[in-house]
Every structure is written in structure tokens, then in C-alpha cells.
Symmetry: C2
Subunit: 184 residues, 2 copies
């Protein structure tokens, strides 16, 4: 097996924190070859869920919203951060309902992925929600205005490659869903 060795953490210093939104820390580390590296930064924002929600007719329940970080409107999956102590699946069910008004007959976990594995930025927990149907009006409470819209699979594939899906977490959750074996 691999001989890749972990780095040794010598010190971790707080740089900035506004909990629960963000913390920035600086690690001093010793590499396996003995070199010391100071100020290897570590940025943490809350872990979140990203939901690929599909109707019985295989339409995808998506959002369009203005994302301030990139300064433009983007097509995204329903998504949101996990509240303190909240399990990922519970967060996925809550966010889907709040942001779209839909609930699902069946859920499947789609994997956990770190955004920027050098810095431990945030973990995206992907979920696949099947046989979703609308049971309420959206009421996200988020800062962003959102429009719920339905896309078919061809439109999703197109949106992944033409820049409409700008957010890597949305793109990854959708891609993983499309790569699922057709039988399941």
C-alpha cells in the first residue's frame, strides 16, 4: 500500500472567526521529509447538502438564483448548510422542502466531497431524491431570491456544459446522478 505519510501538525493559530459562518486558521506543519512549513491556511465554512431532486417524469427540480460570490444568476440544485447537530439526510429533506416545496418518496446518498482538499473548506453531501412532488410553496428564508424551475435530462446536460451551472457543488451532484448505473 501507499507509503504516503501524513504531515505533522506543529501548531494551529486562529486568524479570523465569525461563527458559524467562517473560520480561518493557520497551521504550522512538518512534512515527511522534515521540512517545516508555516501558515498553511485552513478555511472552514459549514458543511452543506446538495440535492438532485427528480420527479416521476424525470424532470429535475432546480433553482435559479443570484449568487453574490460570482455576481450573477446561476442555475443550482437545492442546497443549504447543515444546522448544528443536524444529520445530512435531515438537512437535505428540510432544504428541499424549504427551497422548492417538494418532498421525495425515496432518498439515496450520493457521496461526500471536500471543496478544496488542501484547505478543508467545506464538505458537500450529495443526495438523490426520487419521485418528488410539490406539497407546499417554497419558503427558504434565505437571503437569495429563488425561482424554482423544472429541467429535463437533456437540459441538465446542456446546462452543465454551457456555464449556466456555475457552482461546482451543483455540477458535481448532477454529474454523479447522471453517472448512476441505469438499472438502479
Amino acid at each position: 500500500m501507499s507509503l504516503l505519510k501524513p504531515w505533522r501538525l506543529l501548531a494551529r493559530r486562529p486568524i479570523f472567526a465569525d461563527r458559524p459562518f467562517i473560520t480561518v486558521e493557520a497551521d504550522d506543519v512538518e512534512l515527511p521529509d522534515g521540512r517545516r512549513v508555516d501558515n498553511f491556511y485552513r478555511v472552514t465554512v459549514p458543511d452543506y447538502v446538495s440535492i438532485v431532486a427528480v420527479t416521476p417524469e424525470r424532470s429535475f427540480v432546480m433553482l435559479r438564483q443570484y449568487k453574490h460570490g460570482i455576481g450573477r444568476v446561476s442555475t443550482t440544485t437545492p442546497a443549504g448548510r447543515m444546522e448544528e447537530g443536524e444529520a445530512p439526510l435531515a438537512a437535505a429533506k428540510r432544504e428541499l422542502l424549504e427551497e422548492t416545496g417538494y418532498e421525495a418518496a425515496r432518498w439515496e446518498a450520493g457521496g461526500r466531497f471536500v471543496m478544496a482538499a488542501n484547505l478543508r473548506f467545506t464538505t458537500m453531501n450529495a443526495f438523490f431524491a426520487f419521485d418528488v412532488r410539490k406539497i407546499a410553496e417554497p419558503n427558504s428564508g434565505d437571503l437569495e431570491e429563488m425561482e424554482v424551475h423544472l429541467l429535463d435530462e437533456g437540459e441538465i446536460r446542456q446546462a452543465l456544459t454551457d456555464g449556466r451551472v456555475a457552482d461546482a457543488g451543483s455540477a458535481l451532484a448532477l454529474s454523479l446522478f447522471l453517472l448512476r448505473p441505469p438499472a438502479s
Copy 2:
């Protein structure tokens, strides 16, 4: 078309910077409904490239490396940050050669995606490198020790779902490659 409106930026304050590695800023913004939100954070680390490199026999040239941010070894695509003023494709060619010793007969752009579109964290530029062959020994100059290894498509699909590919950028680049229409 969409009535989604951009937010108005009222002020942007520097919080922390260690250039070119990281900057943290705080935006005060006005939402379309008139509400004011202070301290909407903006974290920027350098944009980077992530390369799906495939041999004529359709083996994927991958890396295994210890990622300090998550504290464990992960299977990743070759990747690295763009140097100042460097074009994305030039960075992709450089990083592939430095990290693996391979060069490609043909390149294709795979899209641009923002890690965390709320915060504008970093942009991942995906590239697909075809008919790669080894022309040199790896010499990345990176802090991480790396092992180059070749995986076939079945192993890539497995690694995407069993946690071996922990990094969202690697997972997204690989997924987009696997979703390409088979004809091209």
C-alpha cells in the same frame, strides 16, 4: 427572462490577506427587497486547473497524495493553481508535466466552475487531455508527496463513489469527462 436582481455592493472591507495564497473580505450588501446585510464574506484563493489525462489505452493518469486539509490520502486528478497572468490551458499543460511527467497530443476545455458560489472561493478550470504519454519524470515542486498511478474507467467510477476521490474538483472533472458524448 429572469427577474432575479443582483445585490448592490455597499462596501467591501479587507479582513485578512496573505497574497497570493488567500484573501478574506467582508461585503456589506443591499438585497433587491431593500434589506441590508453586513459581513457577507468573500474568500479568494487562486484559481486552478484540474486535468483528466487519458492514455491511448484509456487509462486515467491519477495521483495519490496526502491532503492536509482533510488529513488523509486522496486520489486526485493532476491539478494546480494558475500562476499570475498564466492562461488556464498553459497552466494545465505545465501542471500535467510537472506532476506526472506526461504530455498530451490533444486538449479540450471541460468547463469553469466556482467552488462555493456564495463566497467566490476559487474557480476550477477543467481540462481533458487525450493520448497522453510519459516523457519525463514527475517533478512537481509541491509540498505534497505524490504517487502517479493509472486507473481504468471502471476503477475511476468505483473511486468516485467509494470515497477515494475526496476532492470535489477532482470528482467533478472526472464526472464531466465520463459524461462526454461517446462520439467525440
